[in-house]
Every structure is written in structure tokens, then in C-alpha cells.
């Protein structure tokens, strides 16, 4: 694997994590804990680190968040816990993600087995999709004594954890390890099964007490001007291809243009640079002050040497020459590239799943659908489309299913 593609930033050592934990003010009713969508409870686990109880810290993280080691790496903390951190009033927020990473690494090294399967209650749940939402739903259901079958259309589990987020931000080893915990807990994952094609929703409903649909937004959006253009590839296809090949792809372009201003566009542009593409230009519709990409990602992308142009929209394409127009001023930009990658968003594909999609989104407010046996969660349900929200939604839907079937055991 290309060293540049794979290398994660270094983690804390025992000494430095104590220094960071010592910066924490150990707030009463910690604002960070309130701000974590998944209630991972950073206020509590940082306090445990401060009092030299890393094992206790690991328990807090794992019991609240089945993907704690993943969230530690990919969470846009600046929007959640760290945004709320009281320490910001003095200088800068506590590096909550970094401390979480230290603790979950420790958990793995110490071979801790924290999650426990509940006593069987005889009920069985089918989950469609093994992305973070499906995985968390499975964990909570297993902890409460339900049997869980996960149906996954791909060869590997993890959804965008496996086929989206690049290796240098989220090593596949970590994803595999987290999934293994959940499999060890009792999740039965059926790979290469597309629900709605290889097996029907009716089959699932007949054999399970409830079906939770967690198919994510797995289809790339496109623009009509790019239809049928051989130079064009979607961001998610490109990232999945690179991740699957562990960075070993043969068609790294010399000149690439990436279209989009979100984290996915940043991931594509940075990945290209790490694979030694010479010139990478990212053109975004948004202007910098309204950018969707997180600060951390934007900064990383800039550091990697990507040219970022903001405020331009693609207006025409002639083979491999794309013309962009500025949204507000009278300005045009032409870029010739050997590869055009579109990172303009993903949409839901819920074919044959009996799920209503209206203008790209589900019309349901919570996790229920009109079919009393069918629930939704993850990116297709209302709320942020991030991993930590997928965890939150997984916990919530599991709670709802449990309430409905057995009146709630916890």
C-alpha cells in the first residue's frame, strides 16, 4: 500500500494524553457530553483518563457508542462536542477526538471485551445495510437480547466506513476490528445480498419481528451535462475503488479536477494528491465562508497542495475541458483535465424496499414508516448525515423497536 495514502496522523502517548486531559476543566454537567449526538459522554471519559482509569474510560465510550474508535477519527468534532467545550473560553477546545482515539486504541491493545449480549428474548430483527447505522442498531438490539441478521449488498461490511472514508483518515484495520466486535457479539451478516433483488422485503418481514432499513445514500448524484462522458467518475466510486485496491490504482491522473465543496470532495482531492497526482484543482459552488467541508478537512486538503477555487458552477463540458461560471460575478474558468471527479452529493437508492422517497428524501419524521414492521435509520432518516449521527439514529431506532415489541427492556 502506498505509504503516503495509508499513513494516519500519530496518536497521543501516555504522557501527552495526560497533558491534554489535564487541560480539561472537568466541567459540571459537561457541555461536551450534552453536545455529542451519540451521547458518547466525553466529559465522563476524559475525567476517567484524568484519574488514570483508562479502562473505565473505554467502558464509557464503548457502552455508549459501538463505533467509538471510528468516531474518534472521523467525527467532525468542531461541530459537536468541541464546539461546546468550555475550554474555548480560555484558549482552544480539548482535543476530544484525540483522547477518544487514545482510549479506544488502549481498549484494543488491552483486548478488552466490553459489550455483552443480552439474554435471548426470542425476537429477531433484520437490518438492511451494514453501514454505521446498521451496525449500531445491531449492537443495541443484541445487547437487549434480540437475534440480529444484517443483509449487505456488498462484499464487505461498513458502508461508507469501508467504501468511502479514505485510509489515511480511517484505517481499514480499525473498521474491521470494530465490525468484528459486533460479529462476536452475535450479529449474523449476510454478504452480497441486495434486498429488493436477491431477497424481498416480504421475505424479511415474514421471517423477522421487525425490519430496519439502513441503506444510506449510496448513489452518486450527477449533472446532466456530464452524462455519458468517459472522463467523469463519481467521487464515491473513485474512493471505493482506491480503498479496495489499498491505494494501488494504475490510472492516477496527472491533471484532475474535482467538483464539489464538501468533505467528500476534500477526501477525493487529498487522496489524489497522496497518490501523487500532479495537479489537482477543486472547484466548489460555495464560497469559503459557506463551505460545507469541515475546517480540519479543508486545511488538510490545502496542505496536501490542492488548488481550491470557490464560487464557481460547471456550465459546459467539451470532452475533458470543463467550463465554470462564477455564481455572482461575471467570470469564466476553463480547466482541461485527464479526469473529472464529481463530488456533488449522494442520494438514496431504495428500489423495491417499499420506502417512500420524495424529491430525494424520505417523508418520515422519525424512524417509523407506514408499514408497522418496517423502520428506517442512518443517512436516510432525518438529521445530520455523519457517522456519529448514524450511531445516534441506530440507538434511537433500536430503542423504538424494543419499545414497540417488548415495551422496552432498558
Amino acid at each position: 500500500m502506498s505509504k503516503k495514502y495509508e499513513t494516519e496522523t500519530p496518536s497521543y502517548t501516555m504522557t501527552t494524553v495526560m497533558e491534554e486531559a489535564a487541560r480539561c476543566l472537568l466541567c459540571h454537567d459537561a457541555p461536551c457530553s450534552q453536545a455529542c449526538p451519540a451521547h458518547t459522554d466525553p466529559g465522563k471519559f476524559i475525567r476517567s483518563v484524568r484519574f488514570r482509569n483508562v479502562k473505565g474510560a473505554a467502558e464509557t465510550i464503548r457502552e455508549n457508542n459501538a463505533l467509538g474508535a471510528i468516531c474518534a477519527r472521523v467525527c467532525p468534532t468542531e461541530k459537536y462536542c468541541e464546539l461546546a467545550c468550555s475550554r474555548t473560553g480560555i484558549d482552544s477546545p480539548i482535543d476530544i477526538g484525540g483522547i477518544q482515539r487514545y482510549v479506544t486504541d488502549f481498549e484494543q491493545q488491552a483486548k478488552m471485551d466490553i459489550l455483552k449480549k443480552g439474554d435471548s428474548n426470542g425476537k429477531t430483527i433484520a437490518i438492511v445495510g451494514s453501514g454505521p447505522a446498521g451496525l449500531q442498531t445491531a449492537t443495541t438490539m443484541l445487547e437487549r437480547g434480540y437475534a440480529v441478521d444484517i443483509y449487505e449488498k456488498s462484499e464487505k461490511a461498513g458502508g461508507y466506513l469501508t467504501y468511502g472514508i479514505p485510509e489515511y483518515r480511517l484505517p481499514q484495520d480499525i473498521v474491521d476490528f470494530e465490525i468484528k466486535r459486533i460479529v462476536n457479539l452475535g450479529a449474523d451478516i449476510h454478504y452480497n445480498v441486495t434486498v429488493g433483488k436477491d431477497i424481498t422485503m416480504d421475505d424479511l418481514k415474514a421471517n423477522h419481528d421487525a425490519v430496519v432499513v439502513a441503506v444510506g445514500a449510496s448513489e452518486a448524484k450527477s449533472l446532466s451535462i456530464f452524462a455519458g462522458n468517459d472522463y467523469v467518475e463519481s467521487a464515491v466510486d473513485f474512493l471505493a475503488r482506491v480503498k479496495d485496491a489499498k491505494g494501488d490504482i494504475t490510472d492516477v491522473p496527472q491533471n484532475a479536477v474535482v467538483i464539489g465543496g464538501g468533505d467528500v470532495a476534500m477526501d477525493v482531492a487529498t487522496t489524489l494528491k497522496r497518490l501523487d497526482a500532479k495537479n489537482v484543482t477543486d472547484v466548489a459552488y460555495e464560497e469559503f465562508d459557506e463551505f460545507r467541508a469541515s475546517k480540519k478537512e479543508l486545511e488538510g486538503t490545502r496542505k496536501a497542495g490542492v488548488t481550491i477555487v470557490d464560487g464557481y458552477v460547471p456550465s459546459a463540458v467539451d470532452d475533458n475541458v470543463v467550463t465554470f461560471k462564477h455564481r455572482k460575478i461575471d467570470s469564466e474558468l476553463k480547466i482541461k483535465a485527464d479526469k473529472i471527479i464529481l463530488a456533488i452529493g449522494q442520494q438514496i437508492n431504495a428500489d423495491n424496499l417499499g420506502i417512500n422517497i420524495e424529491r430525494g428524501v424520505v417523508p418520515y419524521v422519525g424512524y417509523k414508516t407506514e408499514d408497522p414492521k418496517v423502520y428506517i435509520t442512518g443517512d436516510i432518516a432525518k438529521g445530520d448525515q455523519t457517522v456519529v449521527w448514524a450511531v445516534r439514529k441506530g440507538k434511537k431506532v433500536a430503542d423504538l423497536v424494543d419499545q414497540t415489541l417488548l415495551g422496552g427492556t432498558k
Binding site: T13, M14, T15, L26, R47, F51, N53, G56, E59, F106
Partner: protein, 423 residues
């Protein structure tokens, strides 16, 4: 979440866990003790109750802290005496605590000025349904020399007052010792002779923590003056551990029941006291700094430690380290162990080089170009100072060698500690 048996039996009383608030403002009244119980403490030693005739009159301000680099509360100085609340109120609180928390342990701390006081107070707290008595023979800042550490350093008085308490009550009783003494054994023995069932130690260490450089007065400044008074918190832990070791190795005191006190703030501190022979543990300063909630990590961390040690009952750990602390003349002086530097981990800060040159034996060579240390074994004495100062754990114990002319196998020498990697 891990769940293990933390319960202990101490002087005939069963504790659900060994953690108690030590006698101090952290257990000043009913509401405080109730909150502490709710947050998981196994017991409280209520703030020391004195006789009615002794008028408490406290100073303001009354605390100071010792800091080091960025760390607050390395040690804590206080000028408080005993309970400020009226005797009746304290007795009422003790009673109510026991009524509402029958499974928790309520210890009454008392202090008198003469035998009659001690006997009467013992009677009163027994009537208030306390589970145990602790005699405060150790507060170093009493305004009367008939009280506190002036009494605790005098074995005759100690014995007399212990006997008085025993006349007043059948409850299990421990005598709380002062560390402001060269040898604690005579005072502890005197208290046992007087009828004490166990020892609580330590109370605070007489101290001056800081001096205000403009005003030329020690802190805290009480209308322009200050006094020597008691020091507590993390900095006194080594002193407390030493006294406990000396008590438990004195002839005839090997099984002495001890309530360990002094600088406990993490589960590791707690485990250390237990390994040296303490059965219960008492805490004040870290609670004053962080609140009752610290008991959560102390209990949980101790459970994980028990799991690692494969023990089901906390009591199985009591005193396991005592025998491994021997007089300095009995230590093996036949070998030395060199440091081993891991260059992959080294970040090139040069701290080991500085410390070895300026504080040890000039045995580290510094490659200025590569910013890399290496050990010159011809000079290295194996003190492992470099190991302690390395900020990234790049230095560990390495090769062991026998000193010239000594017998034995260097490989068999045990020098590794999990203390640093254990976290």
C-alpha cells in the same frame, strides 16, 4: 461495565467498598454525606466533633495550595480546626444518616480536652447510632495544646484517652495518628494498649506552603499574619505510605487494622495503600478539589485492577507489598541495568542527555546532527534517570550486568515495573 466485590470487613464492620470521606469539611453535615453516599462512597468519617465547652472560632481565608508547573493542588494547606456546627446538630445528623443509609458506614470522629470529654463524646455518638469511632489525636492547628497533635505525640496521653473512649462506648474504635512525629509506632502501640481496635493514618503534616513575597507573610494571610498548619493532598502520599509500612512491620502489629489516608485521588493511589496493608481508605483533599464523583473512577479502576490480578475479593490484595519493602542494607547491590533507547520512538528532545549530564553521570552521548542520544556504558551507572525524564517512553530498562567481581546471574535480576506502561 465491570462489577467486582469491593467489600471489606474492618474492625468487625462490613463496608460495601473501602472508600470513606475522611473527617474534614467534605463530611460536615447531613446533606454532604448523603450526596457522597448517593455517589457511591462506602462510608464517611463525620467532621470531628468536639466538647461543648470548646469554642470553635475559625480564620478566613483558611486554605492555600502548592503548585508545580501547570499542576494545581500538588499539596493543600488548611488552617481549620474541628466541627463548626453545634454538637446537637452533629449528633442529629449522624442519627439521620444512619436511619436513611443503614447499609453505609457512619464513623464519628471525636476530640476532647480531657478524659471526661472523651468519655462523654464517645457515649453521645454511640447513642446517635454511629457504627464506629475515630479519635482525632492529630490535628496540628488546634488553638488548645490539650488537643490535636500535641496529644497524639504523647503516648501516655494517647493511652489514657483511648481508655476513656472505651469506657464510654463499646463501638469499634480507631485512633487517628499524626505524621508530625519521627516514629509512629510508640503512639500507635499506646493507643492499642488503651483499647483502640485499629489505626487511621495520616492526619495533615505541619507546613508552610508559600510566602507572599511582597507582604512577607505565609499563605493564607489572616489579617497580615499566618501560622504553621496542616498539609495534605498528593504530596503527602509518600509520607503516609511510609508510616503505614512502618506500623505494619513493627513487632506484634503485622495484622493491625489500618484506615489509610493521605493524598488518595486515583484507584492507583488506593491500590497502593491496600497493598501496604490498609483495609479502608479515607479521602479529603481530592474531594475538595474535584467533588465526590471521583469515587466512580476509584471504584471502577480498582475493579479492573482486581480483574488483572485475578482476585475476586479486594481483601485478597491487602498487605501484598509489605514484605517487598526491606531495609536499605538488605537490597541487592551486585548488578546494574543499562537504559535502552528506542530510536523509532525518540523525538530528539534531548531531555535524557541534559538530565544525564547535569544530574547523573555524563553517560549519554548526543549526536547533534541527528539529534539522537546513545548510551555510553562505560560511564552509565544504571540509575535510570533518563528513563524517568523521557517524555515519550522511548527509554526502557535494557541490558543487565553484574558489577565486577560479584557473583550471580544478571539476567535473573528483576527490575522492570509496569508502573509506567500500566497507566
Amino acid at each position: 461495565m465491570i462489577d467486582k466485590d469491593l467489600s471489606v470487613d474492618f474492625m468487625g464492620v462490613h463496608f460495601e467498598n473501602p472508600f470513606l470521606l475522611s473527617s474534614s469539611p467534605v463530611g460536615n453535615c447531613y446533606d454532604m454525606c448523603a450526596k457522597a453516599f448517593d455517589e457511591g462512597w462506602g462510608g464517611v468519617v463525620f467532621k470531628t466533633i468536639g466538647p461543648k465547652h470548646f469554642k470553635i472560632d475559625e480564620v478566613s481565608p483558611r486554605f492555600d495550595e502548592l503548585t508545580k508547573e501547570g499542576t494545581p493542588f500538588v499539596g493543600f494547606k488548611n488552617m481549620e480546626q474541628i466541627a463548626e456546627h453545634p454538637l446537637e446538630e452533629n449528633l442529629h445528623d449522624l442519627k439521620k444518616l444512619k436511619e436513611n443509609y443503614p447499609d453505609k458506614i457512619v464513623v464519628a470522629s471525636i476530640m476532647g480536652t480531657n478524659e471526661e470529654d472523651w468519655e462523654e463524646l464517645a457515649q453521645l455518638v454511640t447513642e446517635a447510632k454511629a457504627d464506629m469511632i475515630e479519635m482525632n489525636l492529630s490535628c496540628p492547628q488546634m488553638t488548645s495544646h490539650e488537643m490535636g497533635s500535641d496529644v497524639g505525640t504523647n503516648p501516655e496521653l494517647v493511652k489514657k484517652y483511648c481508655a476513656a473512649v472505651k469506657r464510654g462506648s463499646d463501638l469499634p474504635m480507631m485512633a487517628k495518628m499524626t505524621p508530625n512525629i519521627t516514629d509512629m509506632v510508640p503512639a500507635a502501640k499506646a493507643s492499642m494498649d488503651g483499647g483502640a481496635d485499629g489505626i487511621a493514618t495520616i492526619n495533615t503534616v505541619k507546613s508552610i506552603s508559600n510566602i507572599d513575597l511582597d507582604k512577607k507573610v505565609a499563605l493564607p494571610i489572616v489579617n497580615g499574619k499566618s501560622s504553621i498548619s496542616g498539609f495534605s493532598g498528593k504530596a503527602v502520599k509518600p509520607i503516609a505510605l511510609r508510616f503505614i509500612q512502618q506500623l505494619r512491620t513493627a513487632a506484634g502489629m503485622e495484622l493491625l487494622p489500618i484506615s489509610g489516608i493521605g493524598g488518595i485521588e486515583t484507584w492507583q493511589d488506593a491500590a497502593e495503600f491496600i497493598l501496604l496493608g490498609a483495609t479502608t481508605l479515607q479521602v479529603t483533599t481530592s474531594v475538595m478539589q474535584y467533588g465526590y464523583r471521583i469515587v466512580e473512577d476509584m471504584k471502577n479502576g480498582l475493579m479492573h485492577y482486581m480483574e488483572e490480578q485475578h482476585v475476586d475479593h479486594l481483601s485478597d490484595l491487602i498487605g501484598l507489598a509489605t514484605k517487598n519493602i526491606v531495609p536499605a542494607e538488605d537490597l541487592d547491590r551486585d548488578y546494574k541495568v543499562y537504559p535502552k533507547i528506542d530510536w523509532d520512538k525518540c523525538i530528539g528532545c534531548g531531555r535524557c542527555y541534559i538530565s544525564c549530564f547535569d544530574g547523573a553521570h555524563q553517560a549519554i552521548t548526543w549526536d547533534e546532527e541527528k539529534r539522537r542520544p546513545s548510551v555510553n556504558i562505560n560511564r552509565c551507572v544504571g540509575c535510570q534517570l533518563c528513563n524517568l525524564v523521557c517524555p515519550v517512553g522511548a527509554i526502557t530498562t535494557g541490558e543487565k550486568v553484574m558489577k565486577p567481581g560479584r557473583q550471580g546471574k544478571a539476567e535473573d535480576k528483576q527490575v522492570d515495573s509496569s508502573r509506567l506502561t500500566h497507566f
